[in-house]
Symmetry: C2
Subunit: 175 residues, 2 copies
């Protein structure tokens, strides 16, 4: 008998082969530590991850609308409401009426909000930098490619566009 793998087929649509427990667990712990960096800082301010996500996206897309935020975060406006209110009350975010459409509340970070968003991003960047410095110079592009490939193919392009738009200082853009 050839040393072929035993029948490992079609169990509920999950393909054949052995589970990659190593990768599964490594991603679990890596993400936990990655997000933990920011959690610590936020906890001191009485904020949680929800606040972080808002800070992050408003930082990346200054002037975005509430509706844009709901779209990106995929939560309800009721949930966003409380978080946004707290951020505004504490002076991290300001809302301005849209110049063309005054129903819109365009979102911006204050200097204080900008500093916090930046600090959090730098903290997370530091982890990436440390991790990637342990490998060769090609590691960054490899990691980028790997992470992108992990995203659902259907939404991958959308995510790439979102990142590119933010890099150009643009709004999230057409849904």
């Amino acid at each position: 008998m050839a040393p072929s793998r035993p029948n490992e087929f079609a169990r509920k649509g999950a393909g054949a082969g052995q589970p990659s427990y190593d990768l599964i667990e490594l991603l679990f712990f890596a993400y936990r530590d990655f997000i933990g960096d920011a959690d610590e800082v936020l906890a001191d301010l009485g904020f949680g991850r929800a606040h972080h996500r808002v800070l992050h996206f408003v930082n990346r897309h200054p002037g975005m609308r509430v509706a844009d935020l709901l779209d990106v975060l995929k939560i309800t406006k009721q949930s966003l409401g409380r978080v946004l209110r707290e951020l505004v009350e504490d002076g991290y975010v300001i809302q301005k009426a849209g110049p063309a459409d005054r129903r819109q509340r365009l979102l911006y970070l204050t200097a204080k909000g900008d500093t916090l968003a930046r600090d959090l991003a730098l903290l997370q960047t530091k982890r990436f930098t440390r991790a990637l410095n342990e490998s060769g110079p090609a590691a960054r592009e490899a990691a980028r490619k790997f992470l992108l490939a992990m995203i659902d193919p259907a939404t991958r392009e959308e995510v790439e566009r979102l990142i590119a738009r933010a890099d150009r200082g643009e709004l999230p853009g057409v849904k």
Copy 2:
């Protein structure tokens, strides 16, 4: 005045440099989709991520104690209590008194639990496989190395040991 950056010192230890927003956002979306695969299956059963984590670790370390689980998951026994009870009630997990120390409730998956845990792992493995097939054959080891490097250096060894022990069918082991 030199064009040096404005006071960017020792702000909670976040060093200088530009934030790697691309990596930050890619990891965010990658993890969301990765965990989303399992979330869908679990939701149909009335379970959440907490149940998944328990299933996963009991699957990986059959016969582990409740205390081991608390240690790995870093939650309180009160939180674990509810989740574990539901898994037992629904016939995914069984508890046996320890042979040597009868105070212990050693945890095992039933056949039903084993199937579910395996299905979930294969679903997530499929995503890794797809992602890594888009790169060369060296990609898997590169990804493994990258993810490991993202983990806190202090706990990295511990995580590696945990994975190795599970691969050998052993208990989580010495704390």
